[in-house]
């Protein structure tokens, strides 16, 4: 039965086609977003490419999370547009978008005490009824193993600590196996080891051909793991490019209103950013 159907359409949904490395997966063009009366983003031009980790950095209130939400099609553009997989986000249905992009929210909440394994499995919901529903079990298992949450698979989500919840939420997002990962501060609640773990996962996903956009506060992490970084300042992109070129003491000092020193790591050469402190 299934073989007779058009393989690219399942129940009216257009399934995503493979994307070549380096081709744009999500694009914002001349994007302006207003929240209430306040313009939060303006003149944003940004492209997330397959096989690349793109870090969004900037001070509090610069518009990082808003930009991520706009890329996720949560917020409407007042001007300009956002494209995913080459089509304006407004042309996709919710079900089709769910096959193309996965979003990790800043804080993970759950109204009812579902067990962890069930929460991760929710990430597979978009694929129900498609051929890739066969991947459900391995996708859930590998996402849980990668985020190190397998050992509390049976515990209710509500019984976990903040850091454990954050990892479970990430596992759910990974299990979705979408070509575009939008992660809003995935490291905020995590200890040192798990911060590194999460960014290694980002790199692995990029190496596997996904586009990863990640909001980060830690400039050191951004410098070490991102292919490109976009520094947001007052709702605009101040500068974007490889971290080694973008993270200069002058620019970061001005954007963060805090003098910083930037110097290369003695072994890896990645830029280290340290606030200027009195000796």
């Amino acid at each position: 039965m299934r073989a007779l159907k058009n393989p690219f359409r399942v129940r009216g949904r257009l399934l995503p086609a493979p994307v070549a490395p380096g081709s744009p997966v999500a694009e914002a063009r001349g994007l302006r977003v207003r929240l209430g009366q306040r313009p939060v983003l303006d003149s944003i031009d940004l492209t997330a490419r397959a096989g690349e980790v793109l870090a969004l950095v900037g001070p509090n209130g610069a518009g990082k999370s808003t930009l991520l939400a706009a890329l996720a099609a949560d917020l409407p553009a007042e001007h300009g547009e956002v494209r995913i997989d080459g089509r304006p986000v407004t042309d996709w249905s919710a079900a089709e978008l769910a096959l193309r992009r996965a979003v990790l929210p800043q804080s993970a909440a759950l109204s009812f005490p579902f067990p962890v394994a069930d929460v991760v499995r929710m990430g597979r919901a978009p694929w129900a009824g498609t051929e890739r529903a066969d991947e459900d079990d391995p996708a859930v298992a590998s996402a849980m193993a990668a985020t190190e949450v397998t050992e509390f698979a049976e515990r209710p989500f509500s019984a976990l600590s903040g850091g454990e919840r954050a990892r479970v939420a990430l596992a759910r997002v990974l299990a979705q196996r979408a070509g575009l990962l939008l992660l809003d501060e995935p490291t905020a609640a995590l200890d040192l080891r798990h911060q590194e773990l999460v960014l290694r996962i980002c790199r692995e996903r990029a190496a596997a051909g996904d586009a990863v956009v990640v909001v980060l506060h830690d400039l050191g992490l951004a410098a070490a793991y991102a292919d490109r970084a976009a520094v947001l300042h007052d709702g605009r992109i101040a500068v974007a490019g490889p971290p080694a070129g973008v993270f200069t003491g002058e620019l970061l000092g001005a954007v963060y209103r805090q003098p910083v020193e930037v110097f290369p790591h003695p072994r890896t050469g990645a830029p280290l950013v340290v606030p200027t402190r009195d000796a």
Binding site: A72, P115, M122, A125, P126, D137, E148
Partner: protein, 367 residues
């Protein structure tokens, strides 16, 4: 989490995702629960059909049912047959319909609001529907014949759900306090409207309204069963199809949308279904509160919060509670009859209180 015994410190940076098999889902007790509920429901229905002022032995009940179905058996004498088929059975069927509607509406409402304290009675939907029903009685409306009370209850109930929904949500979430306070306000306003209608009603209508308001199945007849059947059955049939989406909605609105759920549509459909179910229950039985709170909660404790079992399970559980409750209401104070709504509130309120305390403890205050 923060243990630092040596075996917990794993060294080495590489953590390639090992291909361990997916953790086997626990064998859930859903099947056993469903079977148990169905069996209990069957037994209680038969008991309820037999017990009462005019007692009919179980064998005779079965015989008469068989006879009517053309499967052998034997009819009872004239009185027995009349009691069974014109008094007891419509009452049992009505209890089933009302109970299933209330249980299901409670489970749906909690899922839509993402709040385990949401229940048609507590947050004022039942009172709202009651306003419509009282208005139709007091004003002597009859434009839909037999269905008039149900239709009016549905219309008023729908307006109330939408109102409560709009008032109690902020920033995509429903806080417990906001929800309960909204319920108080809506209940008060509905009470005032009902009072106003009673004030303008004549004596016969007043006694009819008062008795109806206490919540009772005493006046069950087949036409009344027919009057609520379409609402209840439609609601009960549509509800289970949205179970998976309700599971996803537990993550919050945006995450549910990120997983492909058309949240706006889901919400509209489910609000309509809740209004249908509540109207079905309120139109015949008045305000019977706490069934929709108690039943889904107990089932969640037994089988977890997954809606695929919770929604049909709550319908079964609600039906069971009402059949048993109605049996108790008309037998414990024999020959007098307790109003069913009074009985459920008597047991439901302490439970609600306990639930509130527990929620509060978990949140560390109301903030």
């Amino acid at each position: 989490m923060t243990t630092s015994s040596p075996e917990h410190i794993r060294t080495g940076a590489a953590t390639a995702p090992d291909r361990t098999p997916a953790p086997k889902p626990r064998r859930s007790p859903a099947f056993a629960l469903t079977a148990g509920l169905l069996a209990a429901l069957l037994v209680c229905c038969l008991l309820s059909a037999g017990l009462g002022a005019y007692s009919i032995p179980l064998g005779d009940v079965l015989g008469s049912v068989q006879h009517r179905l053309g499967l052998g058996g034997a009819a009872l004498d004239r009185v027995g047959e009349s009691v069974l088929w014109n008094v007891r059975l419509p009452r049992v069927v009505l209890a089933l319909l009302v109970g299933a509607s209330l249980g299901c509406a409670g489970a749906l409402m909690q899922g839509v609001f993402g709040n385990p304290l949401a229940e048609p009675g507590v947050i004022g939907i039942s009172s709202g529907a009651a306003v419509g029903a009282v208005a139709s009685i007091a004003l002597g409306l009859s434009f839909f014949g037999n269905w008039t009370v149900t239709v009016c209850a549905f219309a008023a109930g729908l307006v109330t759900v939408l109102l409560v929904y709009a008032l109690s949500r902020s920033g995509g979430r429903t806080e417990v306090v906001t929800l309960i306070l909204t319920g108080i306000a809506v209940n008060a306003f509905a009470g005032a409207l009902i009072g106003l209608f009673i004030f303008f009603a004549d004596n016969a209508q007043v006694s009819q309204i008062t008795f109806w308001q206490l919540g009772s199945l005493a006046q069950a007849t087949w036409p009344k069963v027919l009057a609520v059947l379409p609402c209840a059955v439609l609601g009960l049939l549509v509800a289970p199809f949205h179970a998976r989406k309700l599971d996803l909605l537990a993550l919050g609105e945006r995450p549910a949308r990120h997983l492909g759920v058309d949240v706006e549509r889901l919400r509209i459909v489910l609000v309509l279904v809740v209004a249908l179910l509540t109207a079905a229950a309120v139109a015949v039985a008045g305000i019977i509160s706490f069934v929709g709170l108690l039943v889904p909660h107990l089932l969640r404790m037994a089988n977890g919060p997954g809606h695929r079992f919770l929604i049909p399970g709550s319908a079964l559980g609600g039906a069971l509670v009402l059949v048993v409750g109605d049996l108790a209401a008309r037998t414990v104070a024999d020959p007098a009859e307790l109003p069913l709504g009074v009985l459920t509130a008597l047991f439901g309120s302490p439970f609600f209180f306990w639930l509130l305390r527990r929620t509060r403890r978990k949140q560390g205050g109301w903030a």
